[in-house]
């Protein structure tokens, strides 16, 4: 071993998590103790958990916001909130849930799980991974600082102009929202880039693209989608900020085009719907078969349907704009694509049903959540199919029917899957099981509360109740239904609270899980629970999609090599493999823990603070310091073989 070695034949070592090799890897990969060590950590498991916890905090905050305005809406003519407070609260609720909870929680699961299911030791860019987490956290704080200053967004999470333009909305409310979104966009884009590189370049040898876990198909698909979709919304918000603060004319009269906002927003917005559900769908496709004791039915069809859904998702944005007076030919085309997209979604649905039908299901909490997910998935899908039709949409648009639909989609397709996934992967993350009895209560309260709370919205919508109103007169036939909705939302909140209780109980008292409590098939279950900092003591070589089930499935003549492999212990090293057939082609050097990502994220946030108050000296200072930090970050290093010694 020399510091200048340029080529190496990988050694072989047995898989033993108690060997000297394991202690050596532990020293190389472990997060250092102390506060600075914690802040500087680049371990994907550490960062993944931070993402999940932060996203759940935003979920609870967004939930409390909804509970407050549900009291206002429980009876007619309520004045608990002023119209202005109501506007801020429902806008914050939407923004928090869709932007700061729904995607980041999936990112958290992906950051934690992807390197484990792919058989590697970290994300491709560990420091970037830490950076994207910090920027995500700070962008959320930035938004909530706006709320604390009484300048929270108040034009809905979709933020339509001209209401969001300065003449009609002169405070800093929309500017906080615009800049927080740009900051979050930086995090989302860089995070997606990291996933693409990790999944295409660091899979374990032998894990060809058709042996990749279905979980990775979801993450890969939406990450590529994000690369193309994110710039649209970031640009939309940037142009809005220019319009509001520098007098440009993108959206504002006389020569601006208000509809340009809707185009740019929904060209991102509809792909985003799939971005925040497809990874959740793929978590179900990964975990549900394990609980049905068989491989997923129709792996190839589900993988292709995932990709097709994302691709079609770029061609349906106009269905958010059916009522804006666009030409009929455009309406017809986008309506057709919106109806067609049901087909790939149904493929996954039938694959899950067939998996349950032909399997031997274990009726535990995770399974209940997945089945609940399938039921609300179908209801939300059908109401989406209805609004995809132009004549129906003209009746339903801007009514509570749309509110019902989008909550069935976002809670049903995202939160129920996330809850099931939490019960499923919690034992891997913490080495202890969540409690089943509490879990049943958790599920049934959430499932009943959700349906009681959101199903009647379909009816109030059909009865003509408009969205976004802060109160309503009595005698419209909406009173009883709204009271039922509020009761349902509190039942659901009680269920959510039980989950929090269960997590704390599980962390302290949960039954010890062992490496593979569900007897699952994929690589993450071949490591101890929780996994050591280096994940795999030796890198596995794969021969199938289900390395831990090969003997019992007996599908082919070849078996995966899990009991010995390359140790890669000459530093922090991982294997780089080819994108399609996963042949090893390089030994990659990984950077150590670093405080620079946190510092850079702080400087970037400070820069955005300078932008909102127009303190140009601060902006310029932050630019200079930020560039210096990036230079330090990127300076070629001998240890990483980026330059000559």
């Amino acid at each position: 071993m020399t510091t200048t070695e340029l080529d190496r034949v990988p050694e072989l070592a047995p898989r033993d998590y108690a060997s000297p090799l394991a202690s050596k890897l532990e020293r190389l990969w472990a997060t250092k103790p102390g506060l600075i060590g914690w802040l500087a950590s680049v371990d994907h498991k550490e960062i993944g958990l931070r993402y999940i916890v932060t996203a759940f905090v935003f979920l609870l905050v967004g939930g409390v916001e909804a509970l407050i305005f549900r009291i206002q809406l429980a009876w007619p003519n309520q004045h608990l909130l002023t119209p202005s407070q109501y506007d801020q609260l429902f806008s914050m609720h939407g923004a928090t849930m869709i932007l700061w909870y729904a995607f980041p929680v999936l990112t958290g699961f992906s950051v934690y799980l992807q390197p484990l299911v792919l058989g590697t030791r970290d994300m491709a860019m560990p420091r970037l991974n830490a950076f994207t987490y910090w920027v995500y956290l700070f962008s959320g704080l930035y938004l909530y600082v706006g709320l604390a200053l009484g300048s929270a967004p108040n034009a809905g999470w979709f933020n339509y102009v001209p209401y969001a333009s300065r003449p009609y909305n002169p405070g800093l409310n929309i500017d906080f929202y615009a800049l927080a979104n740009i900051l979050l966009g930086v995090s989302t884009t860089l995070g997606s880039l990291n996933f693409v590189v990790t999944i295409l370049h660091q899979r374990a040898p032998g894990m060809s693209i058709n042996r990749m876990p279905i979980l990775s198909w979801g993450t890969l698909t939406i990450s590529v989608g994000n690369l193309f979709a994110m710039p649209s919304v970031t640009l939309a918000f940037f142009l809005l900020w220019l319009d509001r603060q520098f007098g440009t004319h993108f959206y504002s009269p006389p020569s601006g085009q208000p509809l340009l906002w809707q185009h740019l927003f929904w060209m991102w917005g509809h792909p985003w719907v799939y971005v925040i559900v497809l990874p959740a769908l793929s978590m179900v496709s990964e975990a549900l078969p394990v609980l049905c004791r068989r491989p997923l039915v129709g792996y190839t069809a589900v993988a292709l349907a995932t990709v097709l859904t994302m691709v079609l998702g770029f061609g349906v944005w106009l269905h958010h704009m059916f009522a804006t007076g666009l030409p009929n030919i455009a309406l017809a085309f986008f309506s057709a694509v919106s109806l067609f997209i049901v087909i790939p979604s149904a493929v996954s649905n039938f694959a899950w049903l067939a998996t349950i039908w032909t399997g031997r299901p274990i009726f535990n909490t995770a399974f209940l959540f997945f089945v609940g997910f399938i039921i609300v998935f179908v209801i939300g899908g059908v109401s989406g199919f209805m609004t995809g039709s132009v004549p129906a949409d003209w009746q339903l648009t801007d009514t509570y029917f749309v509110v019902a639909h989008l909550h069935y989609v976002l809670i049903g397709w995202n939160l129920f899957a996330v809850m099931g996934a939490s019960y499923f992967w919690f034992p891997k993350m913490f080495g202890r099981m969540l409690d089943e009895r509490l879990g049943r209560w958790n599920f049934w309260l959430m499932f009943i509360g959700f349906n009681v709370g959101f199903f009647p919205m379909h009816i109030t919508g059909l009865l003509g109740m408009p969205r976004r109103i802060y109160t309503y007169p009595d005698g419209m036939g909406w009173d009883t239904l709204n009271l039922i909705i509020t009761i349902g939302s509190y039942i659901m909140a009680a269920g959510m609270l039980l989950f929090v209780v269960n997590v704390f109980y599980g962390l302290k008292r949960g039954v010890i899980a062992g490496p593979n409590p569900w007897d699952a098939a994929t690589l993450e279950w071949s490591t101890p629970s929780p996994p050591p900092p280096y994940n795999f003591v030796v890198i596995p070589t794969l021969a199938s999609r289900t390395p831990l089930w090969e003997e019992r499935l007996n599908e082919g003549p070849y078996r995966s090599q899990l009991s010995e492999g390359t140790p890669l212990d000459h530093g922090k090293e991982v294997l780089g493999t080819s994108s399609l057939d996963a042949q090893p082609n390089v030994i990659l050097r990984m950077p150590e823990d670093s405080i620079v990502p946190l510092l850079l994220a702080l400087v970037l946030t400070l820069l955005f603070a300078g932008l909102i108050v127009k303190a140009w000296w601060l902006v310029i200072a932050c630019l200079a310091v930020g560039l210096a930090l990036q230079l330090a970050w990127l300076w070629p290093r001998v240890e990483l073989r980026e330059r000559r010694p």
Binding site: P10, V196, H201, L235, L239, L264, P557, S560, Q583, R644
Partner: protein, 205 residues
């Protein structure tokens, strides 16, 4: 009877090597998303250009006197950076430093000429929709050029320090991808704002 697959024992390069480097993959993804950004910017431009009325596009055709030679300057800078990349692969210190350095200088000239071009415009960022579009889109491109210049400057210094050679050329290749991208995007911006009016896309009130 089943066989356990063999672990590959092929000799492998270590570290940041050519198109196997993490940074190379990262830059390809970055270029894709930045390309999409310019796609949306130009979408906005064409969205305005096809509106039926009331959008103030300038009455005269855009002048090519500065923009056309400037385009050539930018393209030549790409050739220089490409030469530097070849220089690193062939272990020529001089070709690296001269290639990157002249790419940098040509880029600075482009920025200077572009500033003159901005000054010669009779409208500003907030005059009307066309002014907002013109300065925002070319401004976004300028910001990318400036970032590219900082990258070229860092690479020139690192090359001069003798950091790079045949087995250590990945940083130059990664920087070069970005610079070629910035040049390619300029062609799209140039075509949209300077050529399409001559092809009959609207100009005038």
């Amino acid at each position: 009877m089943s066989t356990v697959v063999a672990v590959s024992r092929r000799s492998l390069p270590v570290g940041s090597v050519g198109s196997h480097a993490i940074g190379w993959w990262g830059m390809i993804c970055a270029v894709l998303t930045e390309g999409a950004l310019f796609g949306y910017l130009l979408f906005s431009y064409f969205y305005f250009a096809v509106q039926p009325r009331q959008i103030a596009f300038p009455p005269e055709l855009p002048s090519l006197w500065l923009a056309a030679p400037n385009t050539v300057i930018l393209l030549v800078s790409s050739v220089a950076v490409w030469q530097a990349e070849r220089g690193a692969r062939r272990d020529s210190w001089l070709r690296q430093v001269v290639g990157l350095g002249s790419g940098f200088v040509l880029g600075v000239i482009f920025v200077g000429v572009q500033l003159l071009e901005w000054q010669s415009r009779p409208f500003g960022l907030s005059s009307n929709a066309y002014g907002s579009l013109f300065f925002t889109v070319t401004g976004f491109h300028m910001a990318h050029v400036v970032l590219g210049l900082l990258i070229l400057l860092a690479l020139t210094v690192w090359s001069a320090l003798g950091y790079f050679g045949p087995r250590h050329s990945a940083p130059i290749s990664i920087g070069a991808i970005y610079w070629h991208f910035v040049d390619a995007i300029w062609l799209a911006v140039f075509f949209s704002f300077y050529i399409t009016p001559y092809l009959g896309l609207r100009h005038g009130p």
